[in-house]
């Protein structure tokens, strides 16, 4: 592994019996914040366990933080902080002791663990609540305690599985700010699995999308958005005319009333639009690059895979009729 990659894998394959959980996964993850996206059953959990060095791979290999996935699982886990999606706290234990114990399980001295537990609980905003039993905590405070447990040894890499799950807007914002500060102030790396595209977009500058055990997209979010770049125009005086003209000129147009989006092929597309407007006698009141959201990007990628989805919820939000339909379509495509 070179220093620029925190995770590097080659043709990772993991089979559970006949089920192929990871199919020749080649990852190259840089330091920083990376979002992990994928539908339910895509292989996210298996990938997280692989990164933690917990499962025996069927074939392939890789390195996490310079350690071999297959043989150095314990060393990897010493340098990784894992924040699970689900409850993982001992309910009747006080937060300070919970975090201390999490540190001791990593091999920290008891005194160091206590000292560090105070620090991280203050960092996650639980300084005044640290002597309360976890069972009396709100969901936001439980999530913060889980984050403190994962931060106690100042890990090089933080794996966050749905860190904002069940949080209200305020707690969610604080959690995202806190994670962002871990990257910015602490210079640590994060891999964040989330169903909420906004959260990933807010924290991460890179993303990793897996589907059916395969990596279907990885890289900088801004770069990936380029695959769906459009120009949005607002016209006055004959929207249908310019739409037809643009289509005649070979452009791909999506229109809603007087607002339409034209697929941007290259810089000449701007000229083509203005030419179409001039020839059809239509005013262009506004023209700008349409900045796609991560949600848009997700839908585009799924569309290209043959899935008929209207939003990421259809695929990420659980078992829905749309998901069944998508699964059927996926099987047809396969």
């Amino acid at each position: 592994m070179t220093e620029e990659w925190i995770i590097e894998t080659h043709d990772l394959v993991k089979k559970y019996g006949e089920h192929l959980a990871l199919d020749k996964v080649n990852l190259a993850v840089r330091p920083g914040a990376t979002g992990l996206l994928g539908p339910n059953g895509a292989g996210k959990s298996t990938l997280l366990k692989t990164i933690l060095g917990l499962i025996a791979l069927t074939s392939g290999g890789g390195k996490v933080l310079g350690h071999d996935i297959a043989t150095e699982g314990a060393k990897i886990r010493q340098r990784i902080g894992y924040m699970p999606e689900y409850d993982c706290l001992i309910p009747d234990m006080e937060a300070i002791h919970q975090v201390r114990y999490a540190g001791e399980l990593l091999g920290m001295n008891s005194s160091s663990a206590v000292q560090r537990a105070h620090e991280v609980l203050e960092y996650v905003g639980l300084r005044d609540q640290r002597y309360r039993a976890v069972s009396t905590f709100s969901t936001g405070m439980e999530q913060a305690t889980k984050l403190a447990c994962s931060l106690i040894h100042d890990p090089d890499l933080l794996l966050c599985d749905e860190p904002t799950n069940g949080l209200d807007a305020s707690a969610r914002g604080f959690m995202l700010d806190t994670l962002f500060q871990v990257v910015k102030q602490g210079g640590r790396s994060i891999i964040m699995s989330s169903h909420l595209m906004d959260d990933v977009e807010r924290i991460c500058d890179r993303m990793l999308m897996i589907h059916k055990g395969q990596v279907i997209a990885q890289g900088r979010i801004e770069d990936l958005k380029a695959i769906d770049r459009e120009i949005e125009i607002s016209v006055w005086g004959g929207a249908s005319k310019i739409e037809e003209k643009l289509k005649d000129m070979g452009q791909s147009v999506r229109r809603t009333g007087r607002v339409m989006r034209i697929t941007r092929i290259d810089d000449s597309t701007y000229g083509t639009i203005i030419q179409a407007a001039a020839e059809s006698g239509v005013q262009i009141r506004k023209m700008e690059d349409y900045e796609p959201s991560l949600e848009d990007l997700f839908i585009v990628i799924m569309d290209r895979l043959g899935y008929s989805v209207k939003s990421s919820r259809d695929l990420l939000g659980g078992e829905t009729p749309a998901m069944d339909q998508a699964a059927q379509l996926g099987r047809k495509v396969a």
């Binding site: 840089r30 997280l48 366990k49 933690l52 699982g73 060393k75 886990r77 010493q78 699970p84 999606e85 689900y86 409850d87 993982c88 706290l89 001992i90 234990m93 002791h97 114990y101 999490a102 001791e104 399980l105 990593l106 091999g107 001295n109 160091s112 560090r116 960092y123 106690i152 040894h153 100042d154 604080f174 700010d177 806190t178 500060q181 910015k184 102030q185 602490g186 906004d198 977009e201 807010r202 500058d205 279907i216 990885q218 890289g219 900088r220 801004e222 770069d223 380029a226 695959i227 770049r229 125009i233 701007y270 203005i274 262009i284 506004k286 023209m287 700008e288 690059d289 900045e291 290209r304």
Partner: protein, 374 residues
């Protein structure tokens, strides 16, 4: 104030004072740098064209929407006005200790929890039962004390040290009806099942704790707690008998072999009970089922075998009873007359089988504990 009426020279004084400094502007919230980086994007295995972020206002644009095309970036946790909280990430530069320190922390977490705060939160009922069982198992000492104080030799004969009493302290009906099974059910019941129930297995396995270490330390923790009560009370009983009877070295030499055999039997008892209890705990969620199931196995198998013996005068079914197997082997090791019609070797094999099956269930179920989700 005008200079004409300024008898005290306030203007000069005011001139000397530096003018009030304007309040510093609050620092703008720090955001992620939006530097243009070379493309590294990959979609469906192919590198895509990267144009970066471009913005354009058309010639006919109204100017509306200018500045709306900014990328969303996280706001820093810089506190607003009136906020004291400063979120500062502090690195940690310590060293992580090797495996035995991690294992020690697991052991300490479970054992210390019985006595002090900050470790495994044992329920108050469990702590009370531990105390009651400990005192209950020390009752023969009280009887011997009364005998020594009152000079009642008959009482001392009943409760004093003998093969039968040493065996009875570990495997007697009272201890195995009222004390050890109840103690085991409460101690061992939730050790693994609660990790499954509360998801705390993730805390262990996402750290450099192997499943072998986890299982081993849980096992040792449970066995240690049981042995503390069983062995401690046994040793206390033997020591009290020597002291209260004012016995000498000859008595000690005579009885020590039986005492040591009793220790071996005690070892077999808490190992077997821990194995069965942890196996039940590993297949459960919550502490109730394993506790009840353990009591059911200990008492149920015994009652069933007893009924079969009453009906058919056949006691081979006692082989399914963990307690009776232990009792039988214990009787044989102590040199007592056995109360079973089949050989003690059968009971010993049955014990080995019970422990083997229990450990197999325990190991396989611990292997199924998930880190991500159940």
């Amino acid at each position: 104030m005008s200079g004409e009426n300024d008898e005290f020279g306030l203007d000069e004084l005011l001139d000397e004072v530096s003018p009030p400094q304007p309040l510093p502007e609050p620092a703008p919230p720090e955001t992620l740098p939006t530097m243009a980086a070379p493309s590294e994007a990959e979609f469906m295995g192919e590198s895509g064209a990267v144009t970066g972020k471009a913005r354009m206002e058309a010639a006919y644009g109204t100017g509306e929407g200018e500045g709306q095309g900014m990328a969303m970036v996280a706001q820093s946790a810089t506190p607003g006005s009136g906020t004291i909280f400063h979120q500062i990430y502090r690195p940690w530069r310590g060293n992580l200790n090797p495996r035995w320190v991690r294992n020690w922390s697991i052991l300490r977490h479970h054992v210390y929890g019985l006595f002090s705060k900050g470790h495994r939160p044992w329920p108050m009922t469990t702590k009370l039962v531990v105390v009651i069982v400990l005192f209950g198992s020390l009752l023969p000492i009280i009887s011997m004390s009364i005998a020594a104080l009152t000079g009642l030799d008959a009482l001392m004969t009943i409760y004093g040290v003998s093969r039968a009493n040493l065996w009875g302290h570990i495997l007697g009906t009272f201890h195995n009806t009222c004390c050890w099974p109840l103690l085991t059910a409460l101690i061992v019941g939730g050790l693994i099942s609660e990790d499954r129930q509360f998801g705390t297995s993730a805390i262990y396995f996402s750290r450099p704790v192997t499943r072998t270490d986890y299982t081993l330390m849980k096992y040792i923790s449970a066995a240690l707690i049981l042995s503390m009560i069983i062995v401690l009370s046994y040793c206390a009983y033997y020591a009290a008998a020597i002291i209260l009877n004012n016995e000498g070295w000859a008595y000690l030499l005579d009885t020590l072999p039986f005492f040591l055999v009793g220790l071996v039997v005690a070892f077999m008892l808490f190992v077997t009970f821990t194995s069965i209890g942890l196996a039940l705990s590993s297949i459960s969620t919550g502490r109730f089922f394993p506790a009840v199931a353990f009591l059911g196995i200990i008492f149920g198998s015994r009652i069933l075998a007893f009924l079969i013996k009453l009906l058919f005068s056949e006691d081979t079914l006692y082989l399914i009873s963990p307690y009776d197997n232990l009792a039988h082997v214990g009787q044989w090791m102590m040199g007592l007359n056995t109360t079973y019609e089949f050989p003690a070797a059968w009971s010993f094999v049955a014990l080995l089988l019970m422990n083997g099956v229990s450990l197999y269930i325990l190991i396989s179920r611990v292997n199924s504990l998930e880190v991500t989700r159940e």
